[in-house]
Symmetry: D3
């Protein structure tokens, strides 16, 4: 038995997408400017010498322009604040995303391994849905919102866009159809056939369409 929650958000309605809990290191410095030139990675890049920090390290215009929704297969674009475009958010436990969706475009079902998400629709009408985890005898008492969620622009004519807060400096994202059908090396056909109850031709067809 499964549960799903679908709801429509429009202009400036905030919607919670429940995902995995924020996973962040607990900062011991008032801040850390990510030093991407370092050869070392300890659960993320090290900190630059704080004396070299500038106001630019704390601001970005990465989200200022709409993303290109014609790239990719789903008619959507997600731009995230990162160490690269906002070095000062290293160890701050938070990112912000701009989501642009073409008419009837889709942010396909995906999950964030390291972040919860709150999305605020700024323009248009977006269908937001998230799927509950499969119930088994452990959880029969509980409805549980899942991590797999999607956003779909219900408007057939106009693009819509939204802003999300994500509770990790590096939330990660795993897009379900790509993870299952277009990984390299591919998942063995037998696994996909048994998992989705499809035959080898269907596996090949889905794969080809998602990769092609």
């Amino acid at each position: 038995m499964m549960r799903a929650v679908n709801l429509i958000i429009h202009s400036f309605m905030a919607c919670l997408l429940s995902s995995a809990h924020a996973i962040n290191p607990e900062p011991l410095l008032d801040y850390c400017i990510a030093d991407l030139s370092s050869p070392y990675t300890f659960n993320g890049p090290p900190c630059k010498d704080p004396n070299l920090a500038t106001p630019d390290d704390f601001a970005t215009s990465a989200l200022s322009k709409p993303g290109n929704t014609s790239v990719g297969k789903f008619g959507s674009s997600v731009i995230l604040t990162t160490y690269q475009n906002l070095p000062g958010h290293r160890t701050q436990g938070l990112s912000m995303a701009r989501i642009d969706i073409a008419p009837n475009g889709l942010v396909p079902p995906h999950s964030h391994p390291r972040a919860s998400e709150v999305t605020t629709c700024l323009k248009g009408e977006i269908l937001v849905g998230f799927v509950g985890a499969s119930n088994n005898e452990l959880y029969t008492q509980q409805l549980r919102a899942g991590q797999i969620h999607f956003l779909f622009n219900l408007d057939e004519k106009r693009p819509s866009w939204a802003v999300s807060g994500l509770s990790s400096e590096n939330p990660g994202a795993q897009i379900v159809p790509l993870s299952t059908f277009t990984s390299k090396p591919p998942l063995p056909d037998v696994v996909l056939k048994k998992a989705f109850k499809i035959d080898g031709q269907e596996v090949a067809r889905i794969r080809q369409r998602l990769e092609g």
Copy 2:
């Protein structure tokens, strides 16, 4: 010796305000709908029976309308997602805020005891500043962004507004001038006199203006 960082953000430039680290309970349920009717508080309200959850628990229109900037003393308004308006975000480790600032209005210097913040200016030109913690012999090597920060609408004619993500479900806020001069009971005059190097009349005058 002190350090401060001031920068101007305009339309859709994200700005990081470094504050205390996100403080959140680690969820053991896929989600928790805050049950505000419970007599018990264990580091926040308990969870409602998940079987009673509805899509409404995951969406809010609290941020959809501009806040009233004529209330209060500083020409600004902050509306936050909360257990009350978005019950589903209990244990999700994240909130979202809408900040409206009247022309030349101010969100006064304040800090969030339990959250980092990323602010995105959606309209207008906002001066954002944060002050570094006082240096002492422990930290002489470091410039440190502080928690005390403010937002000021540089535009003398038009309101501006912004969206913030905060990395706690209950970030808290402590507004410096109110905390120091208008607490009840008040801080002893001798403390304020010695702290700000002002005399009793100045203490009384500031108090009266902030309270009056």
Copy 3:
């Protein structure tokens, strides 16, 4: 671009399945016996009066017998230590699972929102695979193991079984094909069609086979 890792484990080879980070409350008591009779849920059940604890609260035979792999659609069974069968593990941050897989049976692609996993094959030959998260411009430098993983019994004649440690008292599980195709209410067809690049008939067929 995606990455996947497939490997075969046989008798008593341990295999790490990287999943979301363990999510657990930090205990303030030497232990907590889950009190499932309580009407309250605060990030899990409350603790029983510790004076009523007995050795039984710390042991379980739930894993002692093979699970029934003929129930369900994939020829596999997963039995987990839980508050119900091992009350003493509340707040201990760990569970253990017994996985039985029929000949050519499958534990379908799934993820654990709140736990890492280490699996030890005790009998037979199991193909274990996990898929890397989709790369985007944030992560181009990194190969990342994902959370979506599966186990497949390569042996056509004999069952195999394994033991897993999971780093959460309540790891959760989200089985990809069921989450996407058999949730209730269902994900809108348009979403599945666009996500998997299949038509409505294929959506219906997959759904029916997984539900039927």
Copy 4:
């Protein structure tokens, strides 16, 4: 509406100063001796080769002598255990402070971004106060102790001193009057004028007295 708590502690009465939650990395080594010679900072200095550790790394006499209360503007001195004087406390999540206050001296209102604090008065009579965070519609049901706190030596003739435990290896400190009036670069006058409801001359006067 604000709330403040003022209380007097004398010889060996412990007093809790509620501040931000302890922020510490979770150690994976039994200990870590801070290696201050390393060019890298990953949320703090790296660990020295443990084989080079000596008993000296775990003891300090930094707190053995009274601090000089005639330096600085407030007639008080705070000495903290640090990586420098107690290298072994890296990753231990705790520091200890010695606080000396001259007759009628003041530890001005300040907050610790990363630590709770328990203060124990060892000699004299100290007025300890902390201010509650400003209430807004989110918190109207709650009195909340704040982070901004101060210590004042009520004795006009004799110095007093105290010991504090702080729940972080690097608690940080932000002294309100210095953060607001003497940062470099300074907060814009307009911000201070609007925040404290004072005119430009008052801003200049306070600044000069605190800096002079």
Copy 5:
């Protein structure tokens, strides 16, 4: 191969005792006054209605008088701040202890399951020691300070005393000789005989002396 660190601390030398990492819930309220009358325990007592908080909830004189070192078998006394004597420190992640040791008295080898400790000798000369964990092939590269530590008053004539900060609101303590030889029910003799390489008579003798 084992390692131990012994050092002498005298008047006001701080000494770090490395123990398990602080284990605390992350507070979502500015504070929580422990409500010991509640029937429920969720990783500690719930919070009282904050509106009922008083200054008394934040101060205690529990540490003001020397403990009675003639009670117990080791000539020492440890008094800790607790929910009972300092209700306001619930969820603050910190306690403070007063340790009194009679001439040649001992705080026997013990460990704190949930806290690091920093001890400051206020009077006398105390030998502080802690034992490194046993090395095995996993850790041959590392010297590791352990959790098992003791304090011994080297002075044969005068009592000494110290203050400790502990980085948990409920650090716990496990005194090695009592845990191994005087538990109820007792550890099986065979276990103690094999563990300490002693015979049954020695087991009985030690037990009797520690219990008698």
Copy 6:
């Protein structure tokens, strides 16, 4: 007053050993392959370039063969997954152990400073016990499971073995008799004499037997 819990587990009964809470860094990468060649240690080894990861980094046969129970003094062997034999489990918050015990062999009383443990007996009959922490006035209301635990093979003829999950990537272990009697440098005799109420000859004898 002490409490202990002893119970017998046989074939495939899981038994919880409550120890300190899992202590792990919160990962910000989907995984981290321990780079043991690095000169730096920041709460554990850094991560290898993820592009160099191979399936081998996620699997180990270290647990596939019985450990040698004739080495060491107690007739038991514990083999753990480590950075060395399973590099991919760095930052995963979990290890797995294989425990082999000769007839009437003992895993002596010990504690894990950084992990909870769940043990599953795969063959034979093992007596598992853990001792409650000593009670003092803080905890009189509570029975508390302790960290000090042991495993004893009740079978006089056949070896037994078990698998444990431990909730840390580096749980650590401190074996009580070795920590107290065979550390280098040794604990002062006076401490052991007073702690265990034995005389100097008994201290010497126990030491010699455990070291010899």
